[in-house]
Symmetry: C2
Subunit: 544 residues, 2 copies
């Protein structure tokens, strides 16, 4: 028997875009701008055929195969090349390079696909007793190496694909709670909640493919976090499969019954247990919405504006400020006479450093929504209003980033993102330091990097900073090119902000964790892992 | 040298009321009502003189005394009877019985009063290496045995009184953050923040005496939680003294850098470390406020009303619903012609089961505050408005509970509170079950308990339930009388709600923790404790 990898075939292709989708590539003016601005001169890089990748034979012992098949059934233990390859790593730039034939690919020895939480628990317990490493796998969208199939010191490594755990188990409309299986993808969860007039309101850029369990495991934050909160704030209860059996945490909306152990599971990235079921706070679906664009002159003024909104309860459901560089990239990749006209208009208005500010409001009634919009707009200060066209344009493309990355990689660009967060009083310094680290480490003869940044998650005490870097790829050492830049950026972050605001730790940030939580903090995490996963089979090499 | 116990002299007296305060006792009509309603017939119970209490000699070894004195100075290691007695236990009914001569008192062998975070760390490390148990002590207001000076299996037990750590270390007005030492009392912290135009907004009933470190250690929630959040939501960063040295957690407004370890320290009740410094989110002080009273007919209707407010972002800064019994107790203890007139008025309006609903709004401008008030009032449904007189009456007495308890104890009542929280769909069932458990276990010949309840903390998914029980004291076994009732109530709570919404675990709830977080949860906590406090000297017998 064979389970198709349809829902993962984009991965085999080496990117985010489904193989059947019409991929228009980038417009010609975008290519021209990239050549002029960054020095891009390489010819388009064809995607290496899947068949060219080296995939070692599965080393899963026959005895373990038999045990796993006895739990999940023969059709749900996959050892074919294509199935294993489809779960090799996540969706970072380096992962995609690996799937395009540059750099290494960690391919699991097998993929096990349990049907429900009980089967997950049984698989986890069985793997622990047979010295098999387990990599929990939801949408596979990690950009920090969180689903890389590392074997650690174990005999073999299996990817535990949760795609069959896709059910909405129950809804309590009075308490506004819904119980989901952890493998539900975000769009599927939204579709099922919509039947009840409800929404989760969690829309990260990985929305199209990511799963609810993955959101919890990585402490995800969506584009509408100002309106709906971070994912951790939606988690009311969790069921977790550990090598020592099932563990359930969370019984009430709030509690003083000791430390909040939900916050130990949330963000544990599959290293302490596999999240199998989630009780999530849900809300009525919005019936009205309005997205608008504004231009602020200068990033510092924009930060002041967003801070004022955040500290006065006046953020939109979505509130997102681009720095001058990101605004410029957006203009350049859009192109066209409208952008030319807009540039001229802004110049005429004396705007020296245009920063795009997108604000979206969603609500249960036009009256309520417009009241909130009024509160926001009153506090905006000096801005140029671009109206709903700009807002809708952002909304239309809100999940397009990963596809655009595919296209940029196709033409030979190194393109990757990283993010952090800090308090308002340090945000300017942190942005400058990270920008400088990235620009300095990537500037070489003939290569001029573009480093763009935005704020998309704002709090009373601070905000996130999200950086996108574009530079022509170093064809001789594409992995090293980015890794050096990433290291420089991470070192600029440590001490001023968190090493990650919503991408999680994975492999990429693991060496910076002790600087953030202290060596005692890391030892505490190790002690917890030792208690729950004494054999160390859960997601080796991640987090700690 | 001798440090006065002025700030704790109420404790020596056996209650909350300072010894110099004018204690008016209860009005005559309150006594009459209690007799008629509960069967109270005992004569007033005089407070046993402090000198009658048995206080064993200090068993702190001379060598340890010398070590501790070398850290804090001779004047800050207290071994006098009065100083030790003043830190014997918290403020639960059973604690107060103990200080009134009924039941046992756990008196520490010494009291150590460090000057700052460094000294706290040195004291903790020294105690760990000398097998001395440590009980961190802030305001000493625990009602669950959280500061009871249990020695465990150690040589001796010292109370670590943090009263000298009372400074505001820094303020970042841009990021709205303030760094405090942990021993700052809430009123002192508010006074210092007021100089900067700021407030913390944390007003639990223990406000007058409790400390910031205690709020964090116990996962406290204040009366204005709807407006300012639970204390855990205010905690941005913590410095913690552990036997393995200092530990700092929290670097950014939000992070995905693994599990949120702040949530492991918050609620750890001094068992994992001693919180010495806190970085807290602060807000501008309100410049306008308005408190009003409303009457809803029946608790179920009241619950629906509060739920509607909570789920529409329309709660007041304070929102508090009393059940019919609590409303009745309030009317009865107030008395007077106004209450008589109010009762007649409500009868005439056809209100069968009056439930008092107090809502307070606070804001930065009248315009903004009244806009929020309008949102609330629009959603209230059918209520009788009592106006600001009832609201101001509640506000005037908001911290009076503990003093009223002193007076009730003086006249021979058993009076204690307990609390829980659950989701909206289970709240009626939980209230009924706990009521029944308390009433059944306390009803005896000649003793008829009053069990009153309110909701004071509401969330989108549920709310807290806070029970106050009044019954004539069993003079032969006053401790057993309450302990039986507490056990019955706790067993009614387990499985339906959390064992504690904001009082913490301490000694009283420790045996129910595994039902709430699972045996794996308890083992995880033990593993963390083992890592940070390998000798087990920190607050023995609490939490786990």
């Amino acid at each position: 028997m064979y389970v198709p990898v349809d829902h993962l075939d984009h991965r085999v292709r080496g990117g985010w875009t489904p193989s059947g989708a019409i991929d228009a590539g980038l417009p010609a003016h975008a290519n021209r701008w990239l050549s002029a601005r960054t020095g891009l001169s390489a010819p388009p890089t064809p995607v290496a055929p899947d068949s060219g990748l080296v995939v070692p034979e599965s080393e899963l012992p026959a005895q373990v195969r038999a045990v796993l098949i006895s739990i999940v059934g023969a059709g749900h233990l996959l050892v074919e090349r294509a199935d294993r390859l489809a779960r090799a790593g996540g969706m970072s730039y380096v992962d995609l390079l690996g799937r395009r034939g540059a750099g290494e690919l960690a391919v699991p020895d097998a993929v096990v696909c349990p049907a429900d939480a009980d089967q997950v628990r049984d698989v986890v317990v069985a793997c622990a007793s047979h010295d098999i490493a387990i990599v929990p796998f939801g949408g596979g969208t990690s950009v920090v190496g969180g689903v890389t199939a590392l074997r650690g010191d174990k005999t073999a490594v299996v990817v535990l694909d949760l795609y069959r755990l896709d059910r909405l188990l129950s809804v309590d409309p009075v308490s506004r709670l819904a119980v989901f299986q952890a493998g539900s993808t975000a769009p599927e969860a939204e579709r099922r909640l919509a039947e009840h007039g409800l929404t989760l309101g969690h829309f990260p850029q990985s929305y199209e493919r990511a799963t609810l369990g993955g959101f919890a495991a990585t402490r995800s934050s969506g584009q509408a976090s100002a309106g709906y909160g971070r994912f951790e704030e939606m988690v009311s209860a969790l069921r977790v499969a550990t090598p020592r059996g099932d563990w359930r945490v969370g019984v009430a909306p709030a509690s003083a019954a000791g430390p909040d152990l939900r916050h130990l599971v949330v963000g544990s990235e599959g290293t302490l247990g596999v999240i199998t079921e989630l009780t999530l706070r849900v809300r009525p679906r919005p019936v009205v919405d309005r997205y608008e664009g504004f231009i602020v002159d200068g990033f510092d003024a924009g930060v002041d504006t967003v801070r004022t909104l955040a500290q006065n309860g006046a953020l939109g459901t979505v509130t997102r400020l681009s720095d001058p560089q990101e605004t410029e990239v957006g203009f350049a990749l859009s192109g066209g006479w409208k952008i030319t006209a807009l540039r001229a208009y802004l110049r005429a208005r004396g705007v020296a450093e245009p920063c795009l500010l997108i604000i979206g409001w969603e609500g249960q009634s036009a009256r309520e929504m417009y009241a909130r919009r009024r509160t926001t707009v009153t506090l905006l200060g000096k801005t140029v209003r671009l109206g709903t066209v700009a807002g809708e344009k952002w909304r239309h493309g809100r999940f397009a980033g990963p596809r655009q990355r595919d296209a940029l990689m196709d033409i030979g660009m190194c393109v990757e993102t990283l993010e952090t967060a800090t308090h308002w009083s340090t945000i300017a310094e942190l942005r400058e330091n990270v920008r400088k680290a990235l620009v300095d480490s990537l500037t070489e003869a003939g290569r001029r990097p573009v480093v763009a940044c935005h704020i998309s998650h704002s709090y009373e005490t601070g905000a996130s900073l999200y950086f996108t870097t574009l530079v022509p790829r170093d064809l001789t050492d594409p992995v090293g090119q980015w890794q050096r830049a990433k290291r420089a950026a991470s070192e600029a972050i440590v001490g001023l902000g968190t090493i990650t605001h919503h991408h999680a730790v994975g492999v990429d940030h693991a060496s910076y964790l002790s600087a953030e939580v202290g060596s005692l903090g890391v030892e505490v995490l190790r002690a917890v892992k030792c208690e729950l996963d004494p054999d160390g089979v859960l997601n080796p090499g991640k987090l700690i």
